[in-house]
Amino acid sequence: MNVTQILFWFLSVLALFSALMVITSKNPVHSVLWLIATFFAISGHYIMLNAQFLAIVNIIVYAGAIMVLFLFVIMLMNLNKSIEPQKSKWLKLAGAVAGGCLLLVFVAALKDSEVHLQSAEVNTGDIGLISNLGKALFSTYVVPFEISSILFLSAMVGAVVIGKKE
Protein backbone atom coordinates (compact mmCIF):
# COMPACT_ATOMS: atom_id res chain seq x y z
CA MET A 1 0.00 0.00 0.00
CA ASN A 2 1.32 3.41 -0.83
CA VAL A 3 0.30 6.75 0.59
CA THR A 4 -2.38 7.29 -2.02
CA GLN A 5 -4.07 3.99 -1.23
CA ILE A 6 -3.92 4.59 2.51
CA LEU A 7 -5.48 8.00 2.00
CA PHE A 8 -8.12 6.54 -0.29
CA TRP A 9 -9.21 3.92 2.23
CA PHE A 10 -9.12 6.39 5.09
CA LEU A 11 -11.27 8.92 3.21
CA SER A 12 -13.70 6.25 1.98
CA VAL A 13 -14.21 4.85 5.45
CA LEU A 14 -14.62 8.34 6.85
CA ALA A 15 -17.14 9.29 4.15
CA LEU A 16 -19.24 6.14 4.59
CA PHE A 17 -19.09 6.21 8.39
CA SER A 18 -20.09 9.85 8.66
CA ALA A 19 -22.82 9.40 6.03
CA LEU A 20 -24.22 6.55 8.15
CA MET A 21 -23.99 8.71 11.27
CA VAL A 22 -26.02 11.42 9.49
CA ILE A 23 -29.03 9.12 9.24
CA THR A 24 -28.60 7.29 12.55
CA SER A 25 -27.97 10.28 14.85
CA LYS A 26 -30.95 11.09 17.05
CA ASN A 27 -30.04 14.74 17.40
CA PRO A 28 -30.54 16.74 14.16
CA VAL A 29 -27.66 19.10 15.00
CA HIS A 30 -25.33 16.09 15.24
CA SER A 31 -26.66 14.91 11.87
CA VAL A 32 -25.74 18.22 10.28
CA LEU A 33 -22.24 18.10 11.78
CA TRP A 34 -21.72 14.56 10.46
CA LEU A 35 -22.89 15.72 7.04
CA ILE A 36 -20.20 18.41 7.14
CA ALA A 37 -17.63 15.69 7.92
CA THR A 38 -18.94 13.77 4.88
CA PHE A 39 -18.39 16.79 2.66
CA PHE A 40 -14.84 17.08 3.93
CA ALA A 41 -14.14 13.42 3.13
CA ILE A 42 -15.54 13.87 -0.38
CA SER A 43 -13.43 16.99 -0.85
CA GLY A 44 -10.42 14.89 0.12
CA HIS A 45 -11.31 12.48 -2.67
CA TYR A 46 -11.52 15.36 -5.13
CA ILE A 47 -8.05 16.52 -4.11
CA MET A 48 -6.69 13.00 -4.69
CA LEU A 49 -8.16 13.12 -8.19
CA ASN A 50 -6.32 16.43 -8.66
CA ALA A 51 -9.57 18.38 -8.90
CA GLN A 52 -8.53 21.09 -6.46
CA PHE A 53 -11.01 23.69 -7.60
CA LEU A 54 -13.94 21.30 -7.18
CA ALA A 55 -12.67 20.33 -3.74
CA ILE A 56 -12.42 23.87 -2.42
CA VAL A 57 -15.71 24.95 -3.99
CA ASN A 58 -17.38 21.94 -2.38
CA ILE A 59 -16.11 23.17 0.98
CA ILE A 60 -16.96 26.84 0.42
CA VAL A 61 -20.46 26.25 -0.97
CA TYR A 62 -21.68 23.13 0.82
CA ALA A 63 -19.78 23.05 4.12
CA GLY A 64 -19.41 26.81 4.43
CA ALA A 65 -22.77 28.16 3.27
CA ILE A 66 -25.50 25.58 2.75
CA MET A 67 -24.80 23.63 5.93
CA VAL A 68 -24.69 26.89 7.90
CA LEU A 69 -28.24 27.56 6.70
CA PHE A 70 -29.27 23.98 7.61
CA LEU A 71 -27.85 24.45 11.08
CA PHE A 72 -29.55 27.83 11.28
CA VAL A 73 -32.98 26.38 10.50
CA ILE A 74 -32.56 23.42 12.85
CA MET A 75 -31.45 25.67 15.69
CA LEU A 76 -34.41 27.98 15.13
CA MET A 77 -36.88 25.07 15.05
CA ASN A 78 -35.33 23.82 18.30
CA LEU A 79 -35.79 20.15 17.47
CA ASN A 80 -34.86 17.68 20.18
CA LYS A 81 -35.55 14.12 21.17
CA SER A 82 -38.59 14.73 23.37
CA ILE A 83 -40.66 16.62 20.78
CA GLU A 84 -39.47 14.73 17.73
CA PRO A 85 -42.55 13.36 15.99
CA GLN A 86 -42.46 9.55 15.89
CA LYS A 87 -43.43 8.16 12.51
CA SER A 88 -45.61 5.05 12.38
CA LYS A 89 -44.06 1.63 11.69
CA TRP A 90 -45.64 1.36 8.22
CA LEU A 91 -44.21 4.72 7.18
CA LYS A 92 -40.73 3.59 8.21
CA LEU A 93 -41.17 0.35 6.23
CA ALA A 94 -42.37 2.30 3.19
CA GLY A 95 -39.32 4.54 3.49
CA ALA A 96 -36.98 1.55 3.60
CA VAL A 97 -38.65 0.00 0.54
CA ALA A 98 -38.48 3.28 -1.40
CA GLY A 99 -34.81 3.74 -0.52
CA GLY A 100 -34.06 0.15 -1.51
CA CYS A 101 -35.74 0.71 -4.88
CA LEU A 102 -33.55 3.76 -5.48
CA LEU A 103 -30.47 1.70 -4.63
CA LEU A 104 -31.63 -0.96 -7.09
CA VAL A 105 -32.04 1.65 -9.84
CA PHE A 106 -28.55 3.02 -9.20
CA VAL A 107 -26.95 -0.42 -9.23
CA ALA A 108 -28.83 -1.40 -12.42
CA ALA A 109 -27.87 1.84 -14.12
CA LEU A 110 -24.19 1.59 -13.24
CA LYS A 111 -23.80 -2.19 -13.74
CA ASP A 112 -23.77 -2.15 -17.53
CA SER A 113 -22.18 1.25 -17.99
CA GLU A 114 -18.58 1.78 -18.93
CA VAL A 115 -17.78 3.60 -15.70
CA HIS A 116 -16.35 0.67 -13.80
CA LEU A 117 -14.00 -0.20 -16.64
CA GLN A 118 -12.24 3.14 -16.37
CA SER A 119 -9.98 3.59 -13.42
CA ALA A 120 -9.77 7.01 -11.82
CA GLU A 121 -6.70 9.04 -12.66
CA VAL A 122 -5.18 9.59 -9.26
CA ASN A 123 -2.69 12.44 -8.86
CA THR A 124 -2.48 12.88 -12.63
CA GLY A 125 -4.61 14.68 -15.15
CA ASP A 126 -4.96 18.43 -15.04
CA ILE A 127 -8.53 19.02 -16.19
CA GLY A 128 -9.52 19.76 -12.59
CA LEU A 129 -7.06 22.63 -12.29
CA ILE A 130 -8.80 25.95 -12.38
CA SER A 131 -7.43 27.38 -15.65
CA ASN A 132 -8.26 24.23 -17.64
CA LEU A 133 -11.65 23.96 -16.03
CA GLY A 134 -12.39 27.59 -16.88
CA LYS A 135 -11.35 27.09 -20.51
CA ALA A 136 -13.53 23.98 -20.82
CA LEU A 137 -16.52 25.68 -19.22
CA PHE A 138 -16.33 28.82 -21.32
CA SER A 139 -15.56 27.22 -24.69
CA THR A 140 -16.82 23.65 -25.05
CA TYR A 141 -19.64 23.81 -22.52
CA VAL A 142 -20.54 27.49 -22.73
CA VAL A 143 -24.22 26.99 -23.61
CA PRO A 144 -25.11 24.61 -20.74
CA PHE A 145 -23.04 26.78 -18.41
CA GLU A 146 -24.93 29.95 -19.35
CA ILE A 147 -28.30 28.18 -19.20
CA SER A 148 -27.60 26.92 -15.69
CA SER A 149 -26.50 30.39 -14.60
CA ILE A 150 -29.81 31.80 -15.90
CA LEU A 151 -31.57 29.10 -13.88
CA PHE A 152 -29.73 30.25 -10.75
CA LEU A 153 -30.54 33.88 -11.48
CA SER A 154 -34.24 33.12 -11.86
CA ALA A 155 -34.17 31.15 -8.60
CA MET A 156 -32.56 34.14 -6.88
CA VAL A 157 -35.13 36.56 -8.28
CA GLY A 158 -37.87 34.18 -7.17
CA ALA A 159 -36.45 34.05 -3.64
CA VAL A 160 -36.36 37.86 -3.48
CA VAL A 161 -39.94 38.11 -4.74
CA ILE A 162 -41.17 35.60 -2.15
CA GLY A 163 -39.15 37.33 0.57
CA LYS A 164 -40.60 40.77 -0.23
CA LYS A 165 -44.25 39.67 0.00
CA GLU A 166 -45.64 40.81 3.32
Binding site: N2, I36, F53, A65, M75
Partner: protein, 348 residues
Protein backbone atom coordinates in the same frame (compact mmCIF):
# COMPACT_ATOMS: atom_id res chain seq x y z
CA UNK B 1 4.15 -1.59 4.40
CA UNK B 2 5.73 0.37 1.62
CA UNK B 3 5.55 4.13 1.83
CA UNK B 4 6.43 6.56 -0.90
CA UNK B 5 9.94 7.91 -0.75
CA UNK B 6 9.63 10.81 1.65
CA UNK B 7 11.97 13.75 1.58
CA UNK B 8 12.65 14.02 5.31
CA UNK B 9 14.31 17.40 5.00
CA UNK B 10 11.15 18.67 3.35
CA UNK B 11 8.98 17.36 6.22
CA UNK B 12 11.38 18.83 8.77
CA UNK B 13 11.47 22.19 7.00
CA UNK B 14 7.69 22.40 6.83
CA UNK B 15 7.26 21.24 10.43
CA UNK B 16 9.60 23.97 11.66
CA UNK B 17 7.78 26.54 9.53
CA UNK B 18 4.36 25.43 10.83
CA UNK B 19 5.57 25.57 14.43
CA UNK B 20 7.06 29.01 13.81
CA UNK B 21 3.93 30.44 12.17
CA UNK B 22 1.57 29.03 14.81
CA UNK B 23 3.65 30.32 17.70
CA UNK B 24 4.04 33.66 15.93
CA UNK B 25 0.24 33.93 15.57
CA UNK B 26 -0.17 33.13 19.26
CA UNK B 27 2.47 35.64 20.30
CA UNK B 28 1.03 38.40 18.12
CA UNK B 29 -2.46 37.63 19.42
CA UNK B 30 -1.19 37.81 23.02
CA UNK B 31 0.38 41.19 22.53
CA UNK B 32 -2.58 42.38 20.46
CA UNK B 33 -4.68 42.11 23.63
CA UNK B 34 -2.11 44.29 25.39
CA UNK B 35 -2.05 46.72 22.47
CA UNK B 36 -5.84 46.87 22.45
CA UNK B 37 -5.96 47.84 26.10
CA UNK B 38 -3.20 50.40 25.74
CA UNK B 39 -4.78 51.96 22.63
CA UNK B 40 -8.21 52.01 24.27
CA UNK B 41 -6.63 53.71 27.27
CA UNK B 42 -4.88 56.25 25.05
CA UNK B 43 -8.08 57.08 23.15
CA UNK B 44 -10.02 57.44 26.41
CA UNK B 45 -7.30 59.48 28.14
CA UNK B 46 -6.40 56.76 30.64
CA UNK B 47 -3.11 54.98 31.39
CA UNK B 48 -4.07 51.36 30.77
CA UNK B 49 -2.38 48.26 32.20
CA UNK B 50 0.88 49.27 33.89
CA UNK B 51 1.32 46.97 36.91
CA UNK B 52 2.66 43.66 35.56
CA UNK B 53 6.24 44.23 34.46
CA UNK B 54 7.68 47.42 32.95
CA UNK B 55 4.88 49.42 31.20
CA UNK B 56 2.58 46.48 31.94
CA UNK B 57 4.35 44.34 29.34
CA UNK B 58 3.72 41.11 31.26
CA UNK B 59 -0.03 41.77 31.40
CA UNK B 60 -0.90 39.20 28.65
CA UNK B 61 0.94 36.48 30.61
CA UNK B 62 -0.91 37.45 33.77
CA UNK B 63 -4.21 37.33 31.87
CA UNK B 64 -3.40 33.93 30.42
CA UNK B 65 -2.44 32.57 33.84
CA UNK B 66 -5.65 33.90 35.32
CA UNK B 67 -7.73 32.23 32.60
CA UNK B 68 -5.99 28.89 33.14
CA UNK B 69 -6.69 28.89 36.87
CA UNK B 70 -10.35 29.86 36.63
CA UNK B 71 -12.97 27.24 37.39
CA UNK B 72 -14.16 25.33 34.36
CA UNK B 73 -17.95 25.32 34.14
CA UNK B 74 -19.94 23.20 31.70
CA UNK B 75 -23.71 23.82 31.80
CA UNK B 76 -25.62 20.71 32.87
CA UNK B 77 -28.28 20.91 30.18
CA UNK B 78 -25.89 21.37 27.28
CA UNK B 79 -24.26 18.84 25.00
CA UNK B 80 -20.83 18.50 26.57
CA UNK B 81 -18.98 17.42 23.42
CA UNK B 82 -20.37 20.25 21.30
CA UNK B 83 -19.78 22.74 24.12
CA UNK B 84 -16.07 21.89 24.05
CA UNK B 85 -16.00 21.62 20.24
CA UNK B 86 -17.11 25.24 19.80
CA UNK B 87 -13.95 27.03 21.03
CA UNK B 88 -11.77 24.28 19.51
CA UNK B 89 -13.24 24.92 16.06
CA UNK B 90 -12.89 28.69 16.49
CA UNK B 91 -9.19 28.26 17.28
CA UNK B 92 -8.50 25.70 14.51
CA UNK B 93 -10.12 27.79 11.78
CA UNK B 94 -8.29 30.88 12.99
CA UNK B 95 -4.91 29.13 12.76
CA UNK B 96 -5.54 27.22 9.49
CA UNK B 97 -5.68 30.35 7.34
CA UNK B 98 -1.99 31.10 7.72
CA UNK B 99 -0.98 27.99 5.72
CA UNK B 100 -1.01 29.60 2.26
CA UNK B 101 0.37 33.05 3.11
CA UNK B 102 3.79 33.85 1.64
CA UNK B 103 5.61 35.33 4.61
CA UNK B 104 8.78 36.47 2.88
CA UNK B 105 11.39 35.85 0.15
CA UNK B 106 12.71 32.32 0.03
CA UNK B 107 16.24 31.84 1.38
CA UNK B 108 18.84 29.14 0.92
CA UNK B 109 20.33 26.98 3.67
CA UNK B 110 23.16 24.66 2.63
CA UNK B 111 22.14 24.73 -1.04
CA UNK B 112 18.45 24.13 -0.28
CA UNK B 113 15.90 26.73 -1.28
CA UNK B 114 13.58 27.24 1.70
CA UNK B 115 10.31 28.96 0.86
CA UNK B 116 8.77 31.08 3.62
CA UNK B 117 5.35 29.68 2.80
CA UNK B 118 3.84 26.48 4.14
CA UNK B 119 1.97 25.48 0.97
CA UNK B 120 1.88 27.30 -2.36
CA UNK B 121 -1.26 25.57 -3.65
CA UNK B 122 -2.76 26.79 -6.89
CA UNK B 123 -6.10 27.65 -5.29
CA UNK B 124 -4.43 29.70 -2.54
CA UNK B 125 -6.92 32.54 -2.14
CA UNK B 126 -9.91 30.18 -2.42
CA UNK B 127 -8.42 28.13 0.41
CA UNK B 128 -8.41 31.21 2.63
CA UNK B 129 -11.96 31.94 1.58
CA UNK B 130 -13.00 28.35 2.39
CA UNK B 131 -11.46 28.41 5.86
CA UNK B 132 -13.03 31.79 6.59
CA UNK B 133 -16.42 30.42 5.59
CA UNK B 134 -15.94 27.59 8.11
CA UNK B 135 -15.10 30.07 10.88
CA UNK B 136 -18.78 30.56 11.63
CA UNK B 137 -19.16 27.02 13.03
CA UNK B 138 -17.18 27.86 16.16
CA UNK B 139 -19.67 30.59 17.02
CA UNK B 140 -22.77 28.64 15.96
CA UNK B 141 -21.91 25.40 17.76
CA UNK B 142 -20.72 27.20 20.89
CA UNK B 143 -23.78 29.41 20.98
CA UNK B 144 -26.18 26.52 20.47
CA UNK B 145 -24.49 24.13 22.89
CA UNK B 146 -24.59 26.76 25.66
CA UNK B 147 -28.35 26.13 25.90
CA UNK B 148 -28.99 29.79 26.57
CA UNK B 149 -31.34 32.10 24.69
CA UNK B 150 -28.85 34.97 24.48
CA UNK B 151 -26.12 32.68 23.18
CA UNK B 152 -28.45 31.16 20.58
CA UNK B 153 -29.53 34.60 19.38
CA UNK B 154 -25.89 35.61 19.12
CA UNK B 155 -25.04 32.44 17.20
CA UNK B 156 -27.81 33.09 14.69
CA UNK B 157 -26.81 36.73 14.31
CA UNK B 158 -23.19 35.70 13.78
CA UNK B 159 -24.09 33.09 11.18
CA UNK B 160 -26.26 35.40 9.09
CA UNK B 161 -23.75 38.23 9.36
CA UNK B 162 -20.83 36.08 8.20
CA UNK B 163 -22.74 34.45 5.33
CA UNK B 164 -23.96 37.88 4.17
CA UNK B 165 -20.55 39.53 4.22
CA UNK B 166 -18.80 36.65 2.48
CA UNK B 167 -20.61 37.58 -0.73
CA UNK B 168 -19.24 41.12 -1.23
CA UNK B 169 -15.84 39.84 -0.04
CA UNK B 170 -15.85 37.20 -2.78
CA UNK B 171 -17.00 39.70 -5.41
CA UNK B 172 -14.23 42.12 -4.42
CA UNK B 173 -11.75 39.25 -4.72
CA UNK B 174 -12.97 38.35 -8.23
CA UNK B 175 -12.04 41.86 -9.44
CA UNK B 176 -8.59 41.43 -7.90
CA UNK B 177 -8.12 38.02 -9.50
CA UNK B 178 -8.92 39.49 -12.91
CA UNK B 179 -5.83 41.67 -12.55
CA UNK B 180 -3.60 38.78 -11.48
CA UNK B 181 -4.96 35.93 -13.57
CA UNK B 182 -3.86 33.36 -11.01
CA UNK B 183 -5.08 32.21 -7.60
CA UNK B 184 -1.67 31.41 -6.11
CA UNK B 185 -0.75 33.69 -3.23
CA UNK B 186 2.85 33.82 -4.46
CA UNK B 187 1.85 35.07 -7.90
CA UNK B 188 -0.51 37.62 -6.34
CA UNK B 189 2.53 39.02 -4.50
CA UNK B 190 4.79 38.78 -7.56
CA UNK B 191 2.19 40.66 -9.63
CA UNK B 192 2.53 43.66 -7.34
CA UNK B 193 6.22 44.29 -7.97
CA UNK B 194 5.31 47.08 -10.41
CA UNK B 195 2.57 48.66 -8.31
CA UNK B 196 0.44 47.62 -5.42
CA UNK B 197 -3.10 46.46 -6.10
CA UNK B 198 -4.50 49.22 -3.87
CA UNK B 199 -3.72 51.67 -6.72
CA UNK B 200 -5.85 49.70 -9.19
CA UNK B 201 -8.50 48.46 -6.77
CA UNK B 202 -9.20 51.15 -4.15
CA UNK B 203 -12.95 50.40 -4.05
CA UNK B 204 -12.30 46.67 -3.97
CA UNK B 205 -9.97 47.15 -1.01
CA UNK B 206 -12.53 49.26 0.85
CA UNK B 207 -15.19 46.57 0.38
CA UNK B 208 -12.74 43.85 1.38
CA UNK B 209 -11.71 45.78 4.48
CA UNK B 210 -15.30 46.34 5.64
CA UNK B 211 -16.07 42.65 5.09
CA UNK B 212 -12.91 41.65 6.98
CA UNK B 213 -14.13 43.72 9.95
CA UNK B 214 -17.46 41.89 9.78
CA UNK B 215 -15.86 38.44 9.43
CA UNK B 216 -13.65 39.08 12.46
CA UNK B 217 -16.70 40.22 14.48
CA UNK B 218 -14.99 43.51 15.27
CA UNK B 219 -16.81 46.73 16.05
CA UNK B 220 -18.85 48.19 14.33
CA UNK B 221 -19.98 44.68 13.40
CA UNK B 222 -19.61 42.91 16.76
CA UNK B 223 -23.30 42.03 16.99
CA UNK B 224 -22.70 38.39 18.01
CA UNK B 225 -21.18 39.60 21.28
CA UNK B 226 -23.04 42.87 21.76
CA UNK B 227 -22.60 43.08 25.50
CA UNK B 228 -25.39 45.54 26.19
CA UNK B 229 -28.02 43.57 24.28
CA UNK B 230 -26.93 39.95 24.66
CA UNK B 231 -24.87 40.04 27.88
CA UNK B 232 -21.85 38.47 26.20
CA UNK B 233 -23.36 36.75 23.22
CA UNK B 234 -22.14 33.35 22.15
CA UNK B 235 -19.46 32.98 24.82
CA UNK B 236 -21.58 33.91 27.80
CA UNK B 237 -21.63 30.42 29.35
CA UNK B 238 -17.92 29.87 28.79
CA UNK B 239 -15.31 30.21 31.48
CA UNK B 240 -11.64 29.46 31.94
CA UNK B 241 -9.48 28.77 28.88
CA UNK B 242 -12.47 27.90 26.68
CA UNK B 243 -13.46 31.55 26.94
CA UNK B 244 -9.80 32.38 26.40
CA UNK B 245 -9.81 30.40 23.15
CA UNK B 246 -12.75 32.40 21.80
CA UNK B 247 -11.13 35.72 22.71
CA UNK B 248 -7.76 34.55 21.41
CA UNK B 249 -9.23 33.30 18.13
CA UNK B 250 -10.61 36.78 17.51
CA UNK B 251 -7.16 38.34 17.85
CA UNK B 252 -5.56 35.67 15.67
CA UNK B 253 -8.24 36.31 13.04
CA UNK B 254 -7.45 40.00 13.22
CA UNK B 255 -3.73 39.36 12.73
CA UNK B 256 -4.28 36.94 9.85
CA UNK B 257 -6.75 39.24 8.10
CA UNK B 258 -4.23 42.07 8.43
CA UNK B 259 -1.60 39.86 6.81
CA UNK B 260 -4.02 38.75 4.07
CA UNK B 261 -4.99 42.32 3.25
CA UNK B 262 -1.33 43.36 3.13
CA UNK B 263 -0.63 40.41 0.81
CA UNK B 264 -3.57 41.02 -1.49
CA UNK B 265 -3.57 44.81 -1.76
CA UNK B 266 -0.34 46.18 -0.26
CA UNK B 267 2.35 44.13 -1.95
CA UNK B 268 2.91 41.51 0.76
CA UNK B 269 6.56 41.53 1.81
CA UNK B 270 7.48 44.04 -0.91
CA UNK B 271 9.15 47.31 0.13
CA UNK B 272 7.62 50.20 -1.83
CA UNK B 273 9.69 52.27 -4.32
CA UNK B 274 12.87 50.18 -4.00
CA UNK B 275 14.15 47.06 -5.69
CA UNK B 276 15.41 45.22 -2.64
CA UNK B 277 16.46 42.08 -4.54
CA UNK B 278 19.13 44.17 -6.32
CA UNK B 279 20.93 45.15 -3.10
CA UNK B 280 23.08 42.03 -3.22
CA UNK B 281 22.26 41.05 0.34
CA UNK B 282 22.45 37.52 1.71
CA UNK B 283 19.27 35.65 0.95
CA UNK B 284 18.46 35.07 4.62
CA UNK B 285 18.93 38.77 5.44
CA UNK B 286 16.64 39.72 2.56
CA UNK B 287 14.13 37.19 3.82
CA UNK B 288 14.30 38.67 7.30
CA UNK B 289 13.77 42.20 6.00
CA UNK B 290 10.79 41.09 3.90
CA UNK B 291 9.29 39.36 6.92
CA UNK B 292 9.72 42.51 9.00
CA UNK B 293 8.05 44.59 6.31
CA UNK B 294 5.03 42.27 6.17
CA UNK B 295 4.77 42.31 9.98
CA UNK B 296 4.85 46.12 9.98
CA UNK B 297 2.01 46.27 7.46
CA UNK B 298 0.00 43.75 9.48
CA UNK B 299 0.64 45.73 12.68
CA UNK B 300 -0.69 48.87 10.99
CA UNK B 301 -3.86 46.99 10.06
CA UNK B 302 -4.25 45.70 13.63
CA UNK B 303 -3.90 49.29 14.86
CA UNK B 304 -6.54 50.41 12.34
CA UNK B 305 -8.92 47.70 13.57
CA UNK B 306 -8.45 48.87 17.16
CA UNK B 307 -8.77 52.52 16.27
CA UNK B 308 -12.10 51.77 14.58
CA UNK B 309 -13.28 49.73 17.55
CA UNK B 310 -12.78 52.56 20.02
CA UNK B 311 -14.12 55.25 17.69
CA UNK B 312 -17.20 54.01 15.85
CA UNK B 313 -20.36 52.81 17.63
CA UNK B 314 -22.01 49.50 16.79
CA UNK B 315 -24.51 49.13 13.94
CA UNK B 316 -28.11 48.16 14.52
CA UNK B 317 -28.92 44.77 13.09
CA UNK B 318 -31.11 46.04 10.23
CA UNK B 319 -28.44 48.61 9.34
CA UNK B 320 -25.88 45.81 9.19
CA UNK B 321 -28.00 43.78 6.78
CA UNK B 322 -28.85 46.86 4.68
CA UNK B 323 -25.18 47.77 4.36
CA UNK B 324 -24.21 44.24 3.39
CA UNK B 325 -26.92 43.37 0.90
CA UNK B 326 -28.07 46.71 -0.52
CA UNK B 327 -24.85 48.72 -0.59
CA UNK B 328 -21.75 46.52 -0.57
CA UNK B 329 -22.96 43.83 -3.00
CA UNK B 330 -24.10 46.30 -5.73
CA UNK B 331 -20.86 48.30 -5.23
CA UNK B 332 -18.78 45.14 -5.50
CA UNK B 333 -20.68 44.10 -8.65
CA UNK B 334 -20.06 47.50 -10.25
CA UNK B 335 -16.40 47.28 -9.28
CA UNK B 336 -16.19 43.81 -10.83
CA UNK B 337 -17.85 44.83 -14.12
CA UNK B 338 -15.74 47.98 -14.49
CA UNK B 339 -12.54 46.05 -13.76
CA UNK B 340 -13.52 43.39 -16.27
CA UNK B 341 -14.22 46.01 -18.95
CA UNK B 342 -10.92 47.82 -18.34
CA UNK B 343 -8.91 44.60 -18.32
CA UNK B 344 -10.55 43.51 -21.56
CA UNK B 345 -9.96 46.92 -23.17
CA UNK B 346 -6.28 47.08 -22.20
CA UNK B 347 -5.55 43.52 -23.29
CA UNK B 348 -6.93 44.14 -26.80
Amino acid sequence: MYLLAIDWYFILEKAILVAFIVSLSMLVAMYATYAERKIAAFLQDRIGPNRAGPWGLLQPLADGGKLFFKEEIIPLASSKFLFVLGPVLAMITALLTSAVIPWSHSFSVGGREVAMQIADINIGILYIFGVVSLGVYGIMIGGWASNNKFSLLAAIRGASQMVSYELPMGLALIALLMLVGDLRMSSIVANQAGGWHIIYQPLGFLIFFICALAECNRTPFDLPEAENELNFGYHQEYSSMKLGFYLFAEYINMFISGVVMSTLYFGGYDIPFVHEAGWGLDSWLLSLIGFGVLMTKAALFIFLFMWIRWTIPRFRYDQLMNLGWKKLIPLALINMVVTAAVVLWLKK
